[in-house]
Symmetry: C2
Subunit: 829 residues, 2 copies
């Protein structure tokens, strides 16, 4: 009956091995930056000082862990390719990152390297219901010491498992198709199309999808809202093609045959049965409203338009001498002008950085994305109840090969992302890029009487892009020469739009703008949570809100003219307990994280400032108060920044499986941010911070076809504040000092104090054409500059995309790649 | 006695003419962008559709206006090179920009070109006191119709003149030197140096300067606070070298011989006379505190440091085919991918843009800087009373030639700034740059099942840099392909630091951080005001605060599972009267300016959003409430955005001469933003907006030697919001669509719906190495791309700075170039 997925051959380990080898051979075409200048500098091999203790499991480690679990937990009858959640399986294995208290003695002292552990998510039946259960496995490598134990200490609801509300994902998807077929008369009549069971991807057909999880559970049951979209295969933009018909299904029964649509919603009216909507449709006054049909308007490209200028290629960045950073590909360690850090990845959360140091001093133990929520609002059952917690879908897993020369400059370096799912290792080639870039503006400049100094703003970026269904997120970690660090997210892709009916009786514009004949833009909030475990010059830190405040002051020197003076001053407000903070009104507070032990040469505590950065204004937090759908799973979204005590038992603000149990999540952030004191004696001074990026997104016509990254950007920056004794970028930066006269700078630009004996005539002489030829401005460079022209190869201007490896943006070659739900496979029905 | 300035020769007009010619010849080395690709495209000459009616006066026009005034106002005995404010003179002439109501019929209809007028500032005596008086002169060219009349209609205090509080600037400066010399015993004892009257710029001496205006007037008198700095000639950083000694002088008398220091302030103690401080110094318990000595720590360059990577040049932007914009140099008109606008300049306010259109529709009549205030706070007489209104110093006049390849990419175009002061035309060559730049990130992207589309974010920038004493401001107007426009200011240069004494008894850190032995960072606010005369799809506009608000809703389709739902919705709050707005808490309001007449294809009013942009979070407004020194001159700094009725009588929010009369300014913004209704029938719908950029700047050790531009940036953006029917960048952008399979996009990336007949074995085959070689990814480009490698000349990588023209960053070659005060010259004493 279901023709979509033919039988999955049960593979022998031999076949698996061959598969791996084939993959490996195709993935070895690793992109590395070109060096094409004659003097291209060949650097010695660069080595990290320590091992990357956060590294994702190697393929060998993952295979060993899987084998160990299969052996030790043989009683679970673990299947390598499960058909549904009732078949037990190892969903994924990944590194269980070491506790910081074990890592720090290794990193910053002579401590032993922390023992290595894996985390395993096992899909298994408990009390007859499907669950996802976390275990820790180790120490690694597997030995007689190794064991499997429930992983519980990193969660705070007393459990290590979550019930899976959907026992058979494919059955659910099939039900949607069956439902569509069963009401073909209705869809054909109202929408001009119907679900094609033989070819569910029929471009002229309809697709039927349930509203994503969490699916509402009334009294333990499962309630589905199913909507119809056109597939939009011409552009991939099916979220722009809602059809305005929704069916509500009680899917509580184990027996799918008992599932029936109980309600229909169309054009603002709720119908209590199929018969009721059929009856209504036969009424001559029944209003049919236009629907959304795919067309060139969803195309993400305009190949034909030829405005002036498009016949020429745009400016492009080149880097003829190769990269200036050191990259240890084995340890995934980078060193760049004083910054040093390790890169690691996880299938759910993408790229994290660890042990970030600047000029040899500790700045951050960890920074990484925790969860990305998008929460919609609307007047109909789909967008009105729509919410995503995207790590559930695997934001690392959902990254793809980056487009060289576009996602990253042609001169970027690339790393792969690997993850281990269903007993296989998957490699996403060239999915992290690293590059230096010179901004279009300076880092610093000063024009004086006889000199001008200009220093270039060249920065380092580590980037990956995660495409979760309709949306592409660009995650960038950016480093600047003065010690500033930035975390920036840009979003693009198709919005998840809502159906628009001119006829429907609700307040127009209450949830978005009309952006097409039958389309409304559907307001939503993006809140993307990051952990920043700052260790500013060590672990012992404090946080102070340094406020800029108006004040009236009386000064002795001001008398008698000003009995008092309206001015301003600084007031420090220590953050004394775990709390959430918002970006201050009028930007009038500096959020400083300062060492309580280390001071700079001037006696100032070494500090970093946490500030909203170069996104669009201040990143927002969630608008909705006590969201009905989010439950306890988005408490981190309620403020902009959180200051917490560091605890090994609280390594994250969220867990991907929170999406399965939003009201009783594995990680309940509210229990972490629970007002514990920073002033108690038992507190060791190690603070950890969470912050949110995102946007209140009210898309408009310019979001069609795709949201644009330049205006969807949000950023938080960590800026040194008295961290060094003086601006450290001076030591690294490349620039020029123009000496206009003599060898000093003189006074302010434009001043002419120094002409004690000059009259106008003699000065004019100096400006004469003859003189001009002789007196060239002297340019003194700091840092290396370009010394000669060069031949730039095409690859440096326009990388050959034929090397792009992914054939169809696959991640997994084994089955539907979507989520924990989507891990299952089936034999032919 | 004063050896600094020898006699200024009175020049005949012949000499002046020669001077002009000499200048002109040296300025003709105009930089234009290189084209070096073989296929470099030669575009036909590009012409503006209309005349630039805002253009600065030509040299000829200015000379004619000056001559006309000299003739008509012969009774004023106008001197070409005045010695002090008691000698009448024409300080400057510039274009009096046409009234918008005259300009619009010309620009957007068949109206006559508006009559051209000049504005003249005449320094003259009124009732025995020096004044600066504004006149309008025209129509131009000068004819029998032309006349001179008081320019009053653009001011709102009923006057066209301001009293000049300082009648003899040089006398004041000389007094400071005399004072220094007269207390050499004190300065030598406390500061280890003294003022060198014979060589006031002695690098080992002291410099004495009065606290800048407004100088406090007690009962009409003139009170000066004079401080001592080391000259810091090695780096130009004298504002980092305060010495901690301050003298208070009553300078009310016309007779300078009567001026005497009445108080001294040192190390927190106020002394009532010279004798008192001398007596205190002889006390063995008197505390002498360390002072600030120049050294390498103020150097803006580190030539010697060689960290890894500095031996290689950084990435650089090239543009081998030349610019893709059209530039009419005569009319200063630019056209770039749908954007069109005119550029003009003014000596006080720098670059403004006029008649900005996008895709043929009106967006903005005018955008330009109005005033830049910096307001300090501190516990001593200098920084405690320090405040600047920088247009007074001439922020256009204070721009300098830009450093090619550094201030702007090597491929930038340049324009000059001209102004007319004291009967001369001054040209600042290559002081405005125009360039395209490709960002390090995309404008849009989407990864689908079978395709990836990536569009480059190439933007256009118009930039100039103004150096007002210690600080460099980078002003950038930035245009994006989707119709977004950005106004961005970055600051660098030396901070104006305060003296720090460890001994002094005040709360440390109340006004800044210690950043050197004897230096405190001195908190200050920068508030930089811009006018944005939005005409979104025409003049008839409205402003709405579209708020994103939490709400609890009951939906029919939600029953019975959710009796009500916590969600959010949009609420429109019309702005009904002239008012100041602040950036909203949690970014939760969209400030939309919408046409009340024009709608897009979907019935949405065409709109633009005003939003805080890519600076550091939200730009702030002034902290200080009712500043004692600012008086009524900074009312525009009290909120972030202002919405006003457009009036020809209110073309600006400030006037440079407000600095002379802060409590009774020529332009009192509060009288403009006076709550007039936008709903009255008499209102024609033409709104004008003001917005502020800037920063609460609490400098720290990393601000030494110079503040850094990447973190000092602030920005406001104007983003289309339902302005077009669809994203217009699609028509302009350059990018690539990678077709991984077939010719469609398929579904979401990572989905594998389309393998109805595929089993694993056959799919593995397709991924085999052999297959991979055959099946290359197809790259489909939109917009032109690079087709071949090329030889890039050195000039494109590293422009030859020997072509930098300014010999010593002069602006005026005639005397001290600083301010209206600084316009005077003197014969030998």
């Amino acid at each position: 009956m279901d023709s979509r997925r033919k039988p999955w051959v049960i593979l022998s380990s031999l076949v698996l091995l061959v598969t791996f080898l084939l993959y490996y051979s195709s993935w070895t075409t690793q992109r590395t930056p070109l060096k094409y200048a004659e003097q291209a500098i060949s650097k010695p091999a660069f080595k990290a000082p320590k091992e990357n203790i956060w590294a994702e499991l190697s393929e060998r480690e993952a295979a060993d862990v899987n084998a160990f679990i299969l052996k030790e937990y043989a009683h679970l009858n673990l299947t390598e390719q499960p058909k549904n959640a009732n078949e037990n399986s190892i969903f994924f294995v990944e590194t269980l990152r070491p506790n910081k208290t074990d890592a720090v003695p290794y990193l910053h002292g002579h401590g032993e390297i922390p023992q290595r552990y894996a985390k395993a998510a096992i899909s298994m039946e408990i009390d007859g219901l499907p669950h996802m259960v976390y275990y820790m496995v180790g120490p690694l490598p597997i030995s007689s010491e190794s064991k499997i134990s429930p992983l519980q200490y990193v969660f705070n609801n007393g459990k290590n498992s979550v019930q899976n509300p959907v026992s058979d994902f494919f059955a659910l998807m099939d039900y949607c198709i069956e439902l569509g077929v069963s009401i073909s008369d209705i869809t054909q009549n109202l929408l001009g199309a119907s679900v094609n069971q033989k070819n569910p991807e029929d471009p002229n057909g309809l697709m039927a999808f349930p509203r994503p999880t969490p699916i509402e559970t009334g009294e333990g049951g499962l309630i589905l809202w199913i909507q119809f979209q056109r597939p939009g295969f011409g552009s991939g933009g099916r979220t722009l093609l809602p059809q305005g018909l929704y069916a509500k299904v009680d899917a509580s029964s184990e027996n799918r045959a008992e599932w029936k649509p109980k309600k229909f919603y169309y054009n603002g009216v709720l119908y209590n049965s199929e018969d009721e909507i059929r009856a209504a449709m036969s009424d001559p006054d029944f209003v049919r409203v236009p629907t959304n049909i795919d067309g060139p308007w969803t195309d993400t490209e305009d190949f034909d338009s030829q405005p002036d200028g498009r016949e020429m290629p745009p400016p492009v960045s080149i880097q003829p001498y190769g990269p200036r950073y050191g990259l240890d590909r084995t340890q995934r360690f980078i060193s760049w002008f004083g910054f040093e850090f390790y890169i690691t990845t996880a299938q759910a959360t993408g790229v994290s950085l660890f042990d970030i140091r600047f000029k040899g001093e500790r700045v951050m133990y960890e920074v990484g994305m925790q969860e990305a929520l998008s929460h919609y609002a609307g007047n109909q059952p789909m967008n009105g109840g729509l919410e995503f917690l995207d790590t559930f879908f695997g934001m690392g897993k959902k990254s793809f090969e980056l487009v060289p020369g576009y996602d990253c400059p042609a001169h970027a370096d690339y790393l792969d992302i690997e993850y281990h799912e269903l007993n296989k290792t998957h490699k996403i080639p060239n999915s992290i890029c690293i590059f230096e870039f010179t901004a279009d503006h300076l880092l610093s400049r000063h024009s004086a009487q006889y000199s001008v100094t200009a220093s270039r703003n060249t920065f380092l970026t580590v980037r990956y892009v995660s495409t979760v269904g309709n949306y592409d997120y660009d995650f960038s970690y950016i480093f600047y020469m003065d010690g500033t660090m930035e975390v920036k997210v840009r979003a693009s892709g198709y919005i998840f739009a809502a159906f628009y009916s001119a006829d429907e009786k609700h307040e127009k514009g209450e949830y978005g703008h009309r952006i097409q004949d039958a389309l409304e833009s559907s307001m939503h909030d993006h809140v993307i949570n990051f952990r920043a475990d700052l260790d500013v010059a060590g672990e012992k830190n404090e946080m102070v809100r340094m406020a800029v405040e108006p004040v009236t002051k009386t000064f002795s020197w001001d008398q008698p003219e000003n009995p008092s003076r309206n001015t301003m001053h600084l007031v420090d407000y220590p953050v004394t307990e775990e709390t959430g903070l918002d970006w201050p009104k009028n930007s009038r507070e500096f959020y400083l994280v300062r060492s309580t032990e280390q001071k700079n040469a001037w006696g100032q505590p070494k500090g970093y400032r946490i500030t909203s950065g170069t996104g669009m204004g201040n990143p927002p937090h969630l608008t909705i108060v006590n969201s009905t759908v989010l439950g306890e799973s988005g408490r981190w979204a309620e403020h902009d920044i959180w200051a917490l005590r560091h605890k090994d038992t609280e390594p994250r603000s969220a867990d991907p499986l929170n999406y399965f149990a939003t009201h009783e999540p594995l990680v309940d952030f509210k229990k972490q941010a629970n007002h514990e004191s920073f002033e108690d004696e038992d507190f060791n001074g190690d603070m950890v911070f969470y912050f949110n990026l995102g946007a209140h997104h009210v898309p408009h016509s310019g979001d069609v076809p795709n949201t644009l990254m330049h205006t969807s950007a949000s950023s938080v920056m960590f800026v040194p504040h008295n961290f060094c004794d003086r601006d450290p970028s001076r030591e690294s930066v490349q620039g020029v000092r123009l000496q206009l006269k003599g060898h000093r700078s003189g006074g302010f630009a434009g001043e002419e104090f120094d002409e004690p004996n000059g009259d106008l005539r003699s000065r004019m002489d100096r400006h004469s054409h003859e003189e001009k030829k002789k007196k060239k401005t002297k340019a003194h460079y700091f840092g290396q500059t370009y010394e000669e022209g060069m031949k730039v190869p095409l690859e440096a201007l326009e990388p050959n995309q034929a090397g792009y490896i992914s054939e169809q943006n696959f991640v997994s070659d084994l089955g539907f790649n979507g989520s924990a739900i989507g891990a299952w496979h089936r034999d032919e029905a």
